[in-house]
Symmetry: C2
Subunit: 243 residues, 2 copies
C-alpha cells in the first residue's frame, strides 16, 4: 500500500544500519520513490545504510552532485552551479509528486541538521505535503561509540565547522563548555592549533567513521599526523567541573 503522495525527508542515522529508526524503516516500505544524494561515481552513503530496507524494484532517484571541486567554494561560478543543481533536484522530485508518487529522500544523520535534504525542503515544502523523520546525528553516533559524555547540566554546547578562521575557532572553543568540530579534513592542523590556543587540546578526541566497524578513535594530542578525511570529527567533551 502506498502512502499519500508526499515528500519525506528520512534520517537514516550515522552509519550503523541498526541506528535507523522504526519510523524511517516504515517510510522506506511505503514510499514509491527513494531519492539519495551522492557524488558522481560514488555510492550514496545514505543508500548504503538503508539498503536492506529498500523495497525490491522500488524506483530510485539518484541526485548526483556536479563535479565542482575545481572551483573555489564562494566563487559565483560554484554558487551558480550548485544552486542550479538543487533546483534541478527539486524539479525531479516534484515531477514524481505531481504524478501522485510519494518520495522518500534518505539522508545520513538527521535531515535538517547540516543535510542536503533541506535544499529540497526549502524549495518544495510550501507546495507539497512534506514530512521529516528525525535521525540519529553523526556526532551522537561518534560520542556514543567513544563513550564520551559530551555535555551535562548547564553546559553550553557548540558545533563548529573546521573551515572557520583559526582565531575564530580558538575564540569559540574557549567560549564553549563542550564542542564538536566538523569538516575536519585538511583543516586538521589549524583545528589542532586552535584547540591548543583555547586550552582544550588535552580533552579533544579525534574520530573517523565513528559508528563503523573500522572506526578510528584517539586523543587528538596522540595523533601523530595530520591526515584526516573530510568527514572526520573532533569531540571536546564538556562537564569539566565533574569529570
Amino acid at each position: 500500500m502506498s502512502a499519500p503522495a508526499r515528500m519525506i525527508g528520512v534520517g537514516v542515522g550515522p552509519g550503523d544500519p541498526e541506528l535507523m529508526t522504526v519510523k524511517a524503516i516504515r517510510a522506506l516500505g511505503e514510499a514509491d520513490v527513494v531519492a539519495h544524494f551522492a557524488k558522481t561515481g560514488n555510492a550514496s552513503r545514505a543508500r548504503t545504510i538503508a539498503a536492506a530496507h529498500l523495497k525490491p524494484g522500488v524506483t530510485e532517484l539518484p541526485l548526483l552532485y556536479p563535479v565542482t571541486t575545481e572551483l573555489p567554494k564562494h566563487a559565483p561560478a560554484y554558487c551558480g552551479k550548485i544552486d542550479a543543481f538543487y533546483q534541478d533536484c527539486a524539479v525531479a522530485v516534484a515531477a514524481h509528486l505531481d504524478a501522485n508518487r510519494s518520495v522518500a529522500v534518505i539522508c545520513e544523520g538527521d535531515p535538517l541538521f547540516y543535510g542536503s535534504y533541506m535544499h529540497l525542503h526549502v524549495r518544495l515544502a510550501a507546495h507539497y505535503p512534506t514530512e521529516v523523520i528525525a535521525g540519529v546525528t553523526g556526532m551522537s553516533g561518534c560520542w556514543s561509540a567513544v563513550g564520551a559524555p559530551i555535555c551535562q547540566g548547564d553546559d553550553v554546547f557548540t558545533v563548529l565547522p573546521g573551515t572557520l578562521p583559526e582565531a575564530e575557532l580558538a575564540r569559540r572553543l574557549a567560549d564553549a563548555d563542550a564542542a564538536v568540530v566538523m569538516k575536519v579534513g585538511r583543516n586538521l592542523p589549524k583545528v589542532r592549533r586552535a584547540l591548543d590556543c583555547a586550552g582544550r587540546l588535552d580533552r579533544a578526541m579525534y574520530v573517523e567513521r565513528g559508528t563503523m566497524t573500522d572506526a578510528v578513535v584517539m586523543r587528538l594530542a596522540d595523533k601523530p599526523d595530520d591526515d584526516a578525511p573530510y568527514f572526520a570529527i573532533v569531540l571536546v567533551p564538556g562537564w569539566e567541573k565533574r569529570a
Copy 2:
C-alpha cells in the same frame, strides 16, 4: 538469550515510540534489567516511550530522584544530596552487573547529551563492560516536527540552557548562526528579552512536546503569555543568507 552482563545506555529518542532505533529495541529484548530515572510520583518518560518493547516480567530498576526542589540548585545541601543519589544509583546498577545480569538504562533522547545516564557512565564505565546506543535527541525531534531547517553549510550552531544570565544569553545568541534554548520554563521572559536584544526574536520558534500528538508550536513572537513547561524549547534556525 541474555547478552553478556554489561551496562547499556539506551537512547529511546524524543517521545514518539517510532523514533526508537532498531538497536535500542534489540537491547531491550536482550537485557535482564531495565533501569529508568524518574521523579518520585511521576512515570519515567523514557519508560513510557519504550513500554511496548519491555519483555514481559523483566526486572525493572526505577531510579527515583530525591525531592529537591525546595533547595537552591548550587547549595551544598542540594549538591550533596544529588551526588549521594547518583552514587546510590551506581551501587544498585553495579549489584545487578556483579550478579551477571545486563542492565539497560533507558534514556529519553540521546544518553550522553544532557542525560542522567552519564552520571552512571562516569562512575561505572571504567569498571564494567559498557555500551552506549545513540538516540534521536529531543531537539532533532522538535525541529523535524516543525519542519525548520536548523543549520547548513558553515553555520555555527549552539545549544544554550535558559538558566544563563540574560546578558550572556543575548551575547551568545547574537554570536551563533543557529541556536536551541533548552530548559525554558520560567526562564521564558528572560529568553524572550535576550532574543529581542540579539535581533533573533523574529526567527524564534517556541515548541512544547515537539514529537507528541499534542505538540504546541508557534513563533515565539506570537505567544501571548510566558507560561512554559521546563521541557519546552526555543529553536532559532540559521541559514539566514539563503532562507
